[in-house]
Every structure is written in C-alpha cells, then in structure tokens.
Symmetry: C2
Subunit: 321 residues, 2 copies
C-alpha cells in the first residue's frame, strides 16, 4: 500500500464515510457506518470515530479532516459558519480543531472540521449549508456557474468569477415529498408497489413549473387528479415528485437574484445519480441544460481544502477518478 497522507471523513446526519487517502487524493481504503450525527449520543463522537477507524489512527500518523453535519450544534463540536463568498482557501483558514483520543497505543491527534457556510439573500433571509460546500468545491463547477444538489434539503449554489461560492438557496423538497407520501391524504391514494411512471412525473413537473402554481394548491390538485383517475394510483408518487421538483426549479431559476450565471449556461448536478437524472429531466422541461458533476466531488473537495490548509502537500490528481 502506498503511504497514507490523510484520513478524510464525510460525516453526515445518517452516515459516516471514512477514507484513507494517499498522494494526490488516491483512495487507499474506504469504510462507511451508520453512526451519523443523529445516531451518536452527545459525548460519543470520539468513540464512534475509533470504532470505525481506530486501526488507521493507530497505524498511520496522518492528519484528519471532516466535513458535514459533524460540525453542527448536534455534532462533535460546532464549527462556526463562514460567510459567503467562500472558497477552499478561506475555509482552510477557518477549520475548527477537535482533539482526538485514539487510545493509549496511539498519539494524540487533531480532527480538522470544515466550516459550514451561511448566506443572507437581499431580503435579509438567512440560509445555511454544511457539507455541501465541500462537494461544490470538488465538483468542478465553473466560475460564475450554477449547480444543484438535489435531496432532502435541495441546495442551489452559484459561484463568483473567482470560483468561490457566492450564495445559495435551500428548498425543503425531499423532506416535503417524504412527509406527503407517508402522512398526507395524498399518500393514502398512492399505490405503494408502483414502479417509476415518467409520464406522470413530466406532467407534475409542467404543473410545478407553471408560474401560477402555489405548491399547496398543486399538491391538492394532485390528490384530486388521483381521485378523478386523471393520474393513476401507480403514477401519483412520481406526479407529486414532479410537482415539487418543478416548483423548486421554477422558483429557483426565477429568483436566484445576484445572477453571476448566464441564463443559457449549463447547470451542474451534484449527488445521487438517480435523483440527478430526475432533475436533469425536469430541467430539460424547463429549457435548461445540465451535466453531472465530476466524480468523487466530496473526496476531491476535502483534498482541496486539506491542501489549502497545508495538511497535505500534493494537488488532487484526476487519474484517481
């Protein structure tokens, strides 16, 4: 095995993904565990880390870096938010240092936690992210570009001419979708065994994109469509997904107000492949082109921050992809 240079932790709400990285960010070993921030009791983060990669800590005296919800108030230690615009260089100067006790057989260590970002829109409305900033820095988003990270709390992020994150907006699309499927009057009409129904999805996207679509009206209209048989029970779930994604895209394209991004430019999609395909399809219905992010955006972003902080000394090598 080549010499390890960094232990990189992608420590989110539900999972911890740990990687042992060599020169140029080459991934030597990778592990993941269910000890996300929500599953670890207060005071239990050191033990959780040792559980997952105590052998690495004992064997390799390399730096540790973490991004994600581990830096939140519910995490190991709160890493204060960094204000936008923010790039890897400013994050590197604002790492939160957490002492790690790897046991009597190992040297005392320090975990470097990447700060989350905050941004205020022109109306003074604040927004926050934690973990996504590192993904964006590693995703190869062009300067002045716009990217989307679909998910429970979808993020729309735009970069400035220097490639830093200039601002962002969050949409509670995924969480709302789950709530409505599980607990609403609409969910009761859904066929739980249904496969994908892209025609119902597309119809939902068109409804959601319509400027006049207030989400609470469009959602009820989906229920009526289910009741009337206009949308089959097997298509209702995808129809709802389309409405919510369409409303998100319509709203986000209309309002991301300090527009460094050209209205004709290609958007970058970052995250789960299936969900990104769904967003790409909806964006196409909205007349916008998109492309997938560079592979291994999180790992690459973590390496770039570690490099900017002097924790590692080689740039990320793209042959690792």
């Amino acid at each position: 095995m080549p010499d390890p240079r960094l232990i990189a932790l992608d420590w989110g709400t539900s999972n911890l993904r740990a990687r042992l990285l060599g020169d140029g960010g080459a991934c030597l070993e990778e592990r993941s565990a269910g000890c996300g921030v929500m599953a670890v009791p207060a005071g239990g983060f050191n033990a959780a880390l040792v559980d997952v990669c105590g052998d690495w800590l004992r064997a390799h005296a390399v730096p540790l870096l973490a991004s994600g919800m581990v830096g939140s108030r519910q995490g190991w230690m709160e890493a204060p938010y960094l204000a936008c615009p923010a790039g890897p260089a400013s994050a590197a100067t604002a790492l939160t240092l957490v002492p790690v006790d790897a046991g009597p057989a190992a040297a005392k260590r320090t975990l470097h936690v990447v700060p989350g970002l905050c941004w205020q829109d022109p109306n003074g409305v604040a927004d926050v992210m934690r973990g996504e900033e590192t993904q964006v820095w590693g995703a190869g988003v062009a300067a002045g570009g716009l990217c989307v990270l679909p998910g429970t709390h979808s993020k729309w992020v735009w970069t400035d001419p220097a490639g830093r994150i200039a601002g962002f907006r969050t949409f509670m699309t995924g969480e709302l979708y789950s709530l409505l499927c599980q607990h609403s009057i609409l969910g009761r009409l859904m066929d739980p065994a249904a496969g994908e129904d892209l025609a119902s999805f597309d119809a939902g996207v068109r409804r959601g994109l319509g400027g006049s679509a207030v989400a609470t009206h469009a959602i009820f209209a989906a229920r009526t469509a289910g009741l009337m048989g206009t949308v089959p029970p097997s298509g209702l779930r995808d129809h709802l997904s389309g409405i919510l994604i369409g409303a998100e895209i319509g709203g986000a394209l209309a309002e991301s107000p300090p527009r460094p991004h050209d209205a004709d430019s290609t958007l970058t999609l970052i995250g789960d492949e299936g969900l990104c395909r769904r967003y790409a399809r909806a964006l196409q219905l909205a007349g916008r082109a998109s492309r997938p992010a560079q592979a291994q955006a999180t790992l690459r972003g973590q390496w770039i921050v570690a490099n900017a902080a002097g924790l590692v000394s080689s740039p990320f090598l793209s042959q690792n992809e």
Copy 2:
C-alpha cells in the same frame, strides 16, 4: 316545541352535527357526535344515524337532508359532483336519495344528500369540494364576490353575477401545517408550550406573500431563522402558519383567474372564528379587506337547498341567527 320541519345533517370527515329545524330554519335541537365519515365502517351509516337521532326519526315524520363528506366515495353513498356554475337551485335538482331504515317503530325515510361541486381551471386542472358549497350558499356572499373557507384544505370560492358558485381553488395549507409541525425538522425546533406570537406570524405572512417565495424555500428559511435565533422557538409555529397562509393568499389573489370579483372588494371569511381572524389579519397585510360570513352558514345553506327542493315550504328567517 314548535313543529319540526327538517332534520339537517352536517356530516363531515370527523364529526356529525345533526339539527332538528322548525319553520324558517329555527333550530329546535342540536346534537353532535364523533361518528364522522372516517369513523364509520362501510355499511354502518344507517346505524350511526339512528344512534345519534333515532328518537327524532321515530317522533317526527319530517324530511332529512345532509351535506358534507357523507356524500363522498368513503361516505354513505356517493353523490356525483355537480359542475360549476352551481347554486342551490341546481343542487336541489341533483340530490342523491338514500333510503333510511329507522327501525320497526318508524316509517321508512329518505335522506337527501347535497352534491359536491367540481370545477376545472383554464389549464384543465380539476378541483372538488363537498360540504363547503352549502356553507357558501348560506354565508351571504355577494354576487360576484370572493370568499375563503380556511382549514385543512382551504377553499377560495368566487360567485357569478347570479350568485352561483362560479369556480374555486383548494390549498392544502392546514394539512401541510400539521404535517410540518408534527413530522418535520422544523417541528423539532418548535416550543410545544408556546402561546400565540403575532409578530412572528406577521413576519411569516410577509415572507409568504412575497412573490418570490417558493413555499419549500420559505419553509426551510423558517428553520434557518429558528436555528439562528431570528425567530424564537416560541414563535416558530406561528411563523410557519404565517408563511403558509401568506403563500396561499398571495397565490390565490394572483391566480383566481376568471375574476368576477373586483380587486377592491371585501372578501367573506367562512368557518372557525379563530382561524378566520388569522386570515383577516393576513389579508390586511396583503392590502385586502374582509368580513365574517353570516352566522350559521351551514344551517342556512341546508335550509335554502331544502326549500329549493320543496322539502320545506318557508324561506329562512334571519331572526333565527
């Protein structure tokens, strides 16, 4: 006791409210029970009715009329939807007749079920209501007026120059509010013991009314505001309520497209007093005046339909209010 003339049933999803009415719609006796449509097993509606007002059925050979979800597919018998425009006169010709067995000691009877309404907006999106039509007919809404029935599924209803219901839109505001309070990441930040916080409500309304507010973004922004302390935990519930009501009002005022109603006209608010006060406050922030509906809108609407159908022979007398 004056002679009874009608048994009127307001039979909804959660409750049955039964009234024994005399000349002019005077309420002689009133009962309510928890045997709403969701609580009655299939085939159990006759028994539920006899449980609540079997003594009336045995003592008084008067007609029976019902409005509400009892006419839905999950109710006693499905009463087909009537298309808009629709007034009490057309409903009176489209009552669904359900035989009632009040037991050996009573004559066979017939329940007259008021039809629900359906409407298609100019984009072909269908909407439905059941029960609210009767409230609107009884609420004293002016011809060419606009009224709002706030609730789990808020309805915005406008009338034509002849006073009939011309069209309507439903917003899933109340259901979404409950889901988010009970099950979302935002709900976890709320202080369950908090009293009313009208300043947080107003701030939410202003956010929701803002044309740029995509609901899924505004809801996440509320969570960030809670996290940042901009809105106190004790005010988050009302802040969310304001956002959702503001988004509903903003969307509904902008889009109710066949506008028989003057943009300067006063809206009529129908339903729960506390919730109507909240909507009146939010409407005022949107620059629109509102007034409460006439009292006893449901009873009055039921009497008007019964009179149009020839089931009773006197007009509703306003001294009953």
